[in-house]
């Protein structure tokens, strides 16, 4: 077996190696840990890109762990969607990592680098696995790592928020296990593809139970994705996290979205009886509410980080509006927008950090502060990030929203969807303009803090913005890929063929 | 060298026996592994047991036999008290037993024996280490009880733990 055959598992194995190595190295030399982290990230990016290239033609790679055939062992499945998420994760991780290192945020506590690697391992595993229980395990890996990262730097605010974040997620994990128990009890399998086949055979007397299982699973994903009303945990958690970490967390809610997109068509598709398209009646209203709440939060936010956190909720809502369409077109739009909103949220958090660093004691509060060094440049970056996050042209948020508008126009409730998307954009624009003008235009009569020694802190947000620009310029290819990924997800037969091979006759 | 390799030889023997009991089969392979672990584990745990009490093997065995018998009897006695003795007839008492034993290990075994045997429970040691506080469930004559315990157990333990 050649090494190329192991490509699928490398995104999990690389950080799983780099994590302990960084741990052991960190006890001695930080530079070594940074080097290990960087090497890991670069090789992760290379692997993810290679997988993307492989998946581009529609090939679905399946990797049987321990060589046990599916559905008896655990399989990893690398299709277009998984590859896309892996690339996004790697890119985002590079941005967050470089910001942490350049701003020395990684020194503000123990174990930043191992935790960061384990976080990536959890994310990549969640994106790759084709097994429902294994998904739970990777959820836990990424969660426990996120607890550590979220608390990085500590302080009362983070600790308070941390308690809430952890407790809510523990409840989520419990719900996940209950859902898994129900589904295993009914289908006798854990492999997603296999379960998708077996749900059709669930007898009439068990339909209620099946639907309950599906709904519980979906509610767990919604909790992770911070879909209203299960979003309450997010704001403070993200707003108080170390900004480099918050930037990385931009993808955490997307794990929930991803899982929903992955599991619902695969397991709860047409043939699932009472559980067919299980979240259908609830998803659109919840998505609309999320978008409204999120952008209302952006509208009234009193600090840049708080605003960014609300923007995450709003963008998830927007994204979910598209997901609720469950068509190749709307799901494609959702995936395009998913990448965009992840990068945009990261950019917002990072710019907020840059501003806070340079404004001294004024932090990122939306109130007039000193005319700090490099204000024009930072203002421009904020504007770009805000344009992206609110969905104004020319950045990809606009294209994403257009894609969503167009694709949901066929839904019966399209009027609501449109109204909410357009009105929330308005709220976002006004909110960002207000905060931006307060922070970057208005000056308070106060001592100007010293200019930072370096301008390194601008690098990571600049990369994020550049990527957003690239995502806009390359929107043709990107939306095409996203659409193809969506189509592949919506045709579970493809992954059934790839995963179960001859096990299914 | 022997001290290094076998910091607690008695313990090593005990561990090998224990291993054989756990494995539940008599084979050279099992014995081999048992001996390996019986040597390695005490070396590993030696830092946590810096003292090296010497134990005489034969008296220890006979002591164990006596104690086992006493346990049997004690249980019946206590059962009898629990079932049939009225509370107002019960004569519980605190006994302060002067200790002749000096090593903590020996005192512990003594106290443990007292706890396991007729109607007595070791509750505490004095701050100076010379008295053992024992609670007796039914001791109409506390002094006799003290004497009995000292002669039956402590004397034997002195022999077992003597250097």
């Amino acid at each position: 077996m050649s090494w190329a055959a192991h490509l699928t598992i490398l995104p999990v194995l690389i950080p799983a190696l780099a994590g302990p190595l960084a741990l052991l190295a960190m006890l001695r030399r930080r530079v070594l840990a940074v080097g290990i982290g960087l090497a890991s990230l670069l090789s992760l990016l290379a692997c993810a890109l290679a997988l993307l290239a492989e998946a581009g033609d529609g090939t679905i790679r399946s990797y049987a762990l321990g060589s046990w055939p599916a559905p008896f062992g655990i399989v990893l499945v690398a299709d277009r969607l998984a590859a896309m998420m892996l690339v996004l994760t790697a890119v985002l991780a590079l941005i967050a990592f470089s910001h942490a290192v350049l701003t020395r945020a990684d020194r503000k506590g123990w174990h930043f680098h191992p935790l960061f690697q384990f976080q990536l391992m959890g994310l990549n595993g969640a994106f790759l696995t084709g097994d429902l229980f294994n998904l739970f395990v990777f959820f836990e890996v990424l969660l426990i790592a996120s607890y550590g990262l979220m608390l990085h730097g500590q302080g009362a605010g983070r600790l308070k928020a941390g308690v809430q974040y952890v407790v809510v997620n523990l409840v989520g994990s419990s719900l996940f296990l209950i859902a898994l128990g129900i589904l295993y009890a009914l289908t006798g399998t854990l492999n997603m593809a296999d379960m998708g086949l077996r749900v059709a055979a669930v007898p009439a007397a068990d339909q209620g139970l099946l639907r309950i299982g599906g709904l519980l699973l979906v509610s767990v994903f919604a909790l992770k994705a911070a879909v209203a009303p299960l979003h309450l945990w997010l704001m403070r958690t993200y707003a108080v996290s170390t900004p480099a970490v918050a930037a990385l967390f931009a993808i955490m809610t997307k794990v929930g979205v991803y899982s929903l997109i992955r599991v619902v068509p695969q397991v709860f598709g047409e043939g699932a009886g009472a559980a067919a398209w299980v979240p259908a009646p609830f998803l659109l209203p919840a998505a609309l509410a999320s978008a409204v709440i999120g952008f209302a939060g952006v509208f009234v936010a009193r600090s840049m980080a708080e605003q960014a956190a609300y923007a995450v909720i709003g963008s998830t809502g927007t994204l979910m509006i598209a997901v609720a369409g469950w068509s190749a077109e709307s799901l494609g739009a959702a995936l395009y927008y998913l990448v965009h909103s992840t990068l945009a949220a990261a950019a917002l958090f990072l710019v907020a950090d840059v501003a806070a660093r340079r404004r001294g004691s004024f932090g990122d509060a939306a109130s007039p502060g000193p005319a700090f060094a490099g204000r024009g440049t930072v203002a421009l970056m904020f504007m770009a990030a805000a344009i992206a996050a609110s969905g104004l042209p020319p950045l990809s948020g606009f294209i994403g929203k257009l894609l969503i508008l167009k694709s949901v126009a066929v839904l019966p409730d399209w009027g609501w969807a449109w109204g909410v998307i357009l009105c929330t954009t308005f709220l976002g624009v006004v909110g960002f303009a207000r905060v931006g003008s307060a922070v970057f235009w208005k000056s308070a009569d106060c001592e100007v803090p010293p200019a930072p020694a370096t301008r390194h802190d601008l690098a990571a947000p600049a990369i994020a913005l550049a990527l957003l620009a690239a995502w806009s310029v390359g929107a043709g290819w990107a939306s095409g890929y996203a659409g193809a990924a969506a189509a592949q997800v919506l045709d579970p037969a493809q992954s059934v063929r790839a995963v179960l091979k001859d096990a299914v006759s | 060298m022997t001290r290094r390799l076998l910091p607690h030889p008695g313990l090593s023997v005990l561990l090998v026996v224990m291993w054989m009991v756990m494995v539940g089969e008599v084979s050279f392979g099992a014995l081999f592994l048992g001996i390996v672990f019986g040597i390695v584990v005490p070396i590993f745990t030696a830092p946590w047991w810096p003292g090296r009490p010497r134990v005489r093997f034969v008296p220890a065995l006979s002591y164990a036999g006596i104690v086992l018998w006493d346990i049997l009897v004690a249980n019946v006695e206590v059962a009898w008290i629990i079932l049939f003795k009225r509370t107002r007839d019960l004569r519980p008492a605190w006994l302060a037993i002067p200790l002749e034993l000096a090593s903590p290990e020996a005192i512990t075994v003594f106290a443990g024996t007292i706890s396991l045997t007729p109607g007595t429970v070791s509750a505490d040691v004095s701050a100076c280490g010379r008295y053992l506080l024992v609670h007796a469930l039914h001791a109409p004559d506390p002094a006799a009880e003290v004497t009995k315990v000292k002669t039956r157990y402590e004397a034997r333990l002195k022999e077992i733990f003597s250097d």
């Binding site: - | 009991v21 539940g24 605190w94 090593s103 701050a127």
Partner: protein, 139 residues
């Protein structure tokens, strides 16, 4: 009497004895007047109860099934080693609370133990003197 019947008899008897002693121990826990008296029940009656059950088990698997199970022995060893420690610690808690005049820790019929002769106190109330067996960790 065949081996099998003997086995049946023996095991049955041991089970009944074991069960009875366990029950008596727990009954003592219920009926005896104060903590120190109750402490006698579990540390003794139950050990024999359990011992009988463990012997029953060894006998059953050997006589009826022809296999030696020996883990029961280990169970007893561990119990005999740990039961006095548990009792000791619980007694210490009682002594401590007695000294603190904790209302939920009444003295019981034996009263409060007098300090040992020689002007010292029990270890629960006074730091064990250096160099004595009670000060064990210093070595």
């Amino acid at each position: 009497m065949s081996t099998a019947t003997f086995a049946q008899w023996l095991v049955s008897a041991l089970i009944v004895i074991g069960g009875s002693f366990a029950l008596i121990g727990s009954w003592g826990l219920v009926r005896l007047p104060s903590l120190m008296e109750r402490l006698h029940g579990p540390t003794k009656a139950t050990t024999l109860g359990l011992g009988a059950l463990l012997v029953a088990s060894v006998a059953w698997f050997h006589l009826a099934r022809g296999t030696w199970t020996t883990h029961e022995l280990l169970v007893s060893v561990f119990l005999f080693m740990t039961a006095p420690i548990s009792a000791n610690m619980i007694a210490k808690v009682h002594l401590h609370r007695l000294r603190q005049h904790e209302p939920t820790a009444p003295a019981g019929p034996a009263g409060t133990p007098a300090p040992p002769p020689g002007g010292v106190d029990w270890a629960t109330h006074e730091v064990p003197h250096r160099g004595t067996p009670g000060d064990f960790v210093g070595d």
